[in-house]
Amino acid sequence: MNLPQAVAFAVLALAVAVADAQKLPWETNNAQGNAKQFVKFVYPEQVSVAANKDSVVELHFAVNPGLHINSHVPSEKSFIPTQLIVAEPPGITVGPVDFPPGTDFTSAGEKLSVYTGEFVVRAHVKAKPGEHLVQAALRYQACDALSCYPPRNAPVAVDVVAK
C-alpha cells in the first residue's frame, strides 16, 4: 500500500469509526432514523436536582392527534409496549421508570390499553454534583383507527444539573 492509498484507507476507517462512535444503544443501521415520528418529547430540556439524593424527573410526551400508542402494558401479548431506553452517562443513575396507566380504547373491534394526547413518564434519578446529559429513547408503536405503523424510537435528551 503506497502513501496516498494509506491516506484514503485511514480517512475511510475514520469516517466509519466516527459514525459508529456517534451511535447510541438503540440506534441501528436501518431506515428508522429517518422515519416520521408520531410521538414527540415535549419537555424538560434541563432540570435541577439535589445532588446524591433520589429525585424524580417528569418527562412529558405528546402523541400526534388522531393516533394512539400502546401503553407500557398492552392489552395483548403480541402488541408492542411503550418503553424508555436510557443511556446513563457517568455520575448518574436512572431508574426505575414509572409509566401512567393506559386508557381503554377500542379500535378495529379490539380492546386496547393506550396513550393518547399528552402523557408523563416519571424517571427516578440519582446524580453526583455536576451537569449530566441523559440521552434516551421512547420506544413506541403507533396506530390510527385503520392503520398501524412500525415501532419507532422518539429521541429524548435532558440536561440534569445536580447541586
Binding site: 485511514a10 414509572d98 386508557t103 378495529a108 393518547t116 399528552e118 398501524c148 405503523y149 412500525p150
Partner: protein, 227 residues
C-alpha cells in the same frame, strides 16, 4: 519529498482521530445501560382529531409489474412470487402487533376459500421484526407469527419479510398494506389501512379478471361487475 511529509502528517492525524473515536465509542458502550421500563399513574386525555399521520395513499406500483421476491414461509419453505405465474395474487403485508390487520385477515381467509378455484393466491407477508443474530429468539419469533396466523384462521402461506421485500413495494409505512396482482404479474390495485371487505373483493375480482389465465382455470363469472 515535501509532499510525502504532508501525506505522513495527514495519516498521523487520521490515525489519531480513529484512536479518539475508538476510545469514545468504547467509553460510550461501557457507560450505556439498556432497557428501563416499569409502571405507575396519570391517565392521558383522548384524541378526537381523526386526521391521520400521512398524506393520501398513492399506489407506488400502479400498472407496473409486481417486483419478484423469494422469501421463506413460516414452515421454512422458499416461496417466490414468480411461482404463481398465471394466477391472481394478493400480497398482504401485516404484523402480529397490528390490530386492524386482525379485522382484515379473516375476510381474506374467506375470500381465499371463495376464489382459490378461480386462480386466486393470497400471500401474507409478516412485517414483524426478526432477530437474525439470536437463533433461539428467531425460532421463538417465527413460532409466535405462526401461532398468530393460526389463531386468525389464515389458510394461505405466511412469508417472513427480510425487510428487503418491502422496499420495492414502496417501503410499507403502514399496515395492513395490500397489493392485488393480476395473472400477468401486473399490480392492478393496492390499498393501505383497513378498507371495506367489498373493496377487497372488488380488487380480487379485478386481479382475477385481467391478464392471461393459467391453463385449466375456470373463468370468473363475477368478474364482469368488478371495478
Amino acid at each position: 519529498m515535501k509532499r510525502n511529509y504532508w501525506v505522513i502528517l495527514v495519516v498521523i492525524v487520521a490515525l489519531g482521530l480513529i484512536a479518539w473515536a475508538g476510545v469514545t465509542n468504547y467509553k460510550r458502550r461501557k457507560e450505556s445501560k439498556m432497557p428501563t421500563a416499569v409502571l405507575s399513574a396519570t391517565p392521558p386525555t383522548s384524541a378526537s382529531d381523526p386526521a391521520a399521520a400521512d398524506a393520501p395513499f398513492k399506489n407506488p406500483l400502479a400498472d407496473k409489474q409486481a417486483p419478484d421476491f423469494t422469501l421463506h414461509d413460516t414452515t421454512g419453505k422458499k416461496v417466490s412470487l414468480s411461482d404463481y405465474k398465471g394466477k391472481a395474487v394478493v400480497l398482504d403485508f401485516w404484523a402480529t402487533w397490528c390490530a386492524p390487520c386482525k379485522v382484515e385477515i379473516p375476510w381474506l381467509a374467506k375470500l381465499h376459500d371463495q376464489y382459490a378455484s378461480q386462480g386466486l393466491v393470497i400471500l401474507g407477508v409478516s412485517e414483524d421484526d426478526l432477530d437474525q443474530d439470536d437463533k433461539a429468539a428467531l425460532t421463538k419469533e417465527k413460532q409466535q407469527i405462526a401461532d398468530s396466523a393460526a389463531k386468525l384462521g389464515i389458510n394461505y402461506p405466511v412469508l417472513l419479510d427480510d425487510k428487503e421485500v418491502s422496499k420495492p413495494y414502496g417501503g410499507i409505512d403502514a399496515l395492513p398494506t395490500t397489493f392485488f396482482v393480476d395473472r400477468n404479474g401486473k399490480v392492478v390495485a393496492a390499498t393501505i389501512g383497513l378498507v371495506d371487505r367489498d373493496e377487497i373483493e372488488a380488487n380480487i375480482k379485478k386481479a382475477l379478471g385481467s391478464g392471461d389465465q393459467a391453463p385449466g382455470q375456470a373463468p370468473d363469472p363475477a368478474q364482469k361487475g368488478a371495478s
